[in-house]
């Protein structure tokens, strides 16, 4: 007795069922998701693809840029004159500070030499233009038109005319990604301009203002206080304007006060930014206390055994 053939004829065979395919590719994507969020294995792949995609993206920008150019061309003379007058006025307003700056810097250098303190920050910066904002609604990012080819390094601080905008988080050859200070994972060490209280400004994600966290309810903070960078992180030089306190909520039931701040920089509308170079000379980071203690303990144990 021969068995009856039950195979499907080859011309109806369309491979594995959709559900099997979904399961396969679903698991594959989960693995990728895990690998990327956890280990950042895929940065190199991303670099290569970014280089390939870069010309395409530049071409795609052209229609928008052309439109903006034409709009600019027909922009009213009146508006341009107004803007010109405003800029001139701003320049005059800042003149005292700029003119005095050279003298102050020289004086500062002399005092530092007297005190034998290392040079603090060699100011050098790259002007960049914003290409577009990130498409991802979960993060607050911008892309700017210069990258590692122009000497921009990941980790550099980014400012605009009014204050700190964010930090370079990823560098491509001709493009760089800037994470804004409003991003959820972004923190800026700040200092109150009025009394020097130190704190850290934490971004709060899309559509929410950043906050000063872990501040005691009795801290001397008022609405309208300006926050400047404290320079403790070595990313931002000290004294850059960051934000202004817009709301202070002190609830005696809570451990910390809730302090809402509004960034001073034109986070979502500045077109031209400045990337600060990271030549800030920072002293060597001290050893972690836990580790140091463990080493000491280990040494002692070994010593005892030896003796």
């Amino acid at each position: 007795m021969r068995p009856i053939p039950v195979d499907t004829p080859a011309f109806f065979n369309r491979g594995p069922s959709p559900l099997a395919r979904l399961a396969f590719f679903g698991l594959l994507s989960l693995a990728l998701l895990f690998a990327d969020t956890r280990y950042r294995y895929l940065e190199n792949v991303r670099q290569v693809v970014a280089i390939v995609l870069n010309p395409v993206q530049r071409v795609l920008e052209m229609p928008g840029a052309a439109f903006a150019y034409v709009a600019d061309y027909f922009g009213s003379k009146r508006r341009l004159a107004d803007e010109n007058a405003m800029l001139k006025q701003e320049l005059v307003e800042r003149a005292p500070a700029t003119q005095g700056y050279a003298r102050v810097q020289e004086e500062n250098a002399r005092l530092r030499a007297l005190l034998d303190v290392r040079a603090q920050y060699a100011a050098s910066a790259t002007a960049v233009q914003v290409l577009y904002t990130g498409r991802d609604p979960f993060t607050q990012k911008l892309f700017v038109d210069k990258g590692s080819s122009a000497g921009i390094q990941a980790g550099a601080g980014v400012i605009d005319a009014r204050g700190v905008v964010g930090q370079v988080t990823r560098v491509f050859p001709y493009m760089a990604e800037v994470t804004l200070i409003t991003d959820r994972d972004q923190a800026v060490p700040v200092q109150l301009e009025r009394n020097g209280t130190r704190s850290v400004l934490f971004g709060n994600g899309t559509g929410r203002l950043p906050e000063l966290r872990f501040t005691s309810p009795s801290a001397d903070l008022r609405i309208g206080d300006r926050l400047v960078t404290s320079g403790l992180d070595g990313t931002y030089p000290a004294g850059l304007a960051v934000a202004e306190i817009v709301d202070v909520m002190r609830d005696s039931g809570q451990m910390f006060a809730r302090i809402v701040c509004k960034p001073l920089a034109g986070i979502d509308h500045s077109e031209f930014l400045l990337v600060l170079s990271q030549s800030a000379a920072m002293p060597q980071r001290p050893e972690e206390p836990g580790e140091a203690e463990a080493v000491k303990k280990g040494g002692r144990v070994r010593g005892r055994r030896g003796g």
Partner: protein, 183 residues
């Protein structure tokens, strides 16, 4: 009457109309156009309401030409989208794979409806797609975005009639050819 023979055929095809098989190059180039439309740099309000064109095109081909475009194609296209977006690798890949499976699951039914009713079903699929991306990011530690997060899929569904008419036009038999058989 040989003046502009093709003009009359622009419009939704009736369910019983038999479409010619799509050319592979047309499928591919439409996917490419979808990807490029997604990568066009915009910001502000336009960005907040811009639909996922690639998902729309992908969905159309998954429903219309399941032999060419299925879960595997969707997954690869999703990876390209992830790279273009410079976000977490695999989130769009996963979402598009599920989208393609959903399309496969009810593609026989969806074509029986008029276009605007198809759009309602497409809205459900696109929202599902967006929710998968949301879930992937949420597990990764992101915060929930506001309700505006659901605007792009809904705008996408509203564009469905337009997209499907655009993509089916090259497959429709020419009007002059079919006229011969109608009394």
């Amino acid at each position: 009457m040989r003046v502009l023979p093709n003009v009359g055929s622009f419009g939704p095809a009736a369910p019983e109309e038999i479409l010619r098989p799509a050319k592979p190059w047309f499928v591919l180039s439409s996917l490419l156009v979808g990807l490029l439309l997604n990568l066009v740099p915009v910001s502000g309000v336009v960005l907040a309401y811009r639909p996922d064109f690639l998902a729309l095109v992908l969905l159309y081909w998954c429903i219309q030409e399941p032999r060419y475009v299925g879960v595997a194609t969707a997954w690869i296209v999703g990876l390209l989208m992830d790279v273009g977006d410079a976000t977490v690798f695999g989130q769009h890949a996963l979402a598009y794979a599920v989208l393609a499976y959903g399309a496969e699951y009810f593609r026989r039914r969806v074509l029986r409806f008029p276009l605007w009713q198809q759009a309602v079903q497409v809205a459900a699929l696109l929202v599902l797609c967006a929710l998968i991306v949301l879930l992937a990011r949420f597990v990764g530690g992101a915060r929930l975005p506001g309700w505006t997060y659901l605007a792009p899929p809904l705008v996408g569904a509203a564009l469905w009639p337009l997209v499907s008419v655009l993509l089916q036009t090259p497959q429709r038999p020419s009007r002059s050819g079919s006229r011969r058989y109608t009394p």
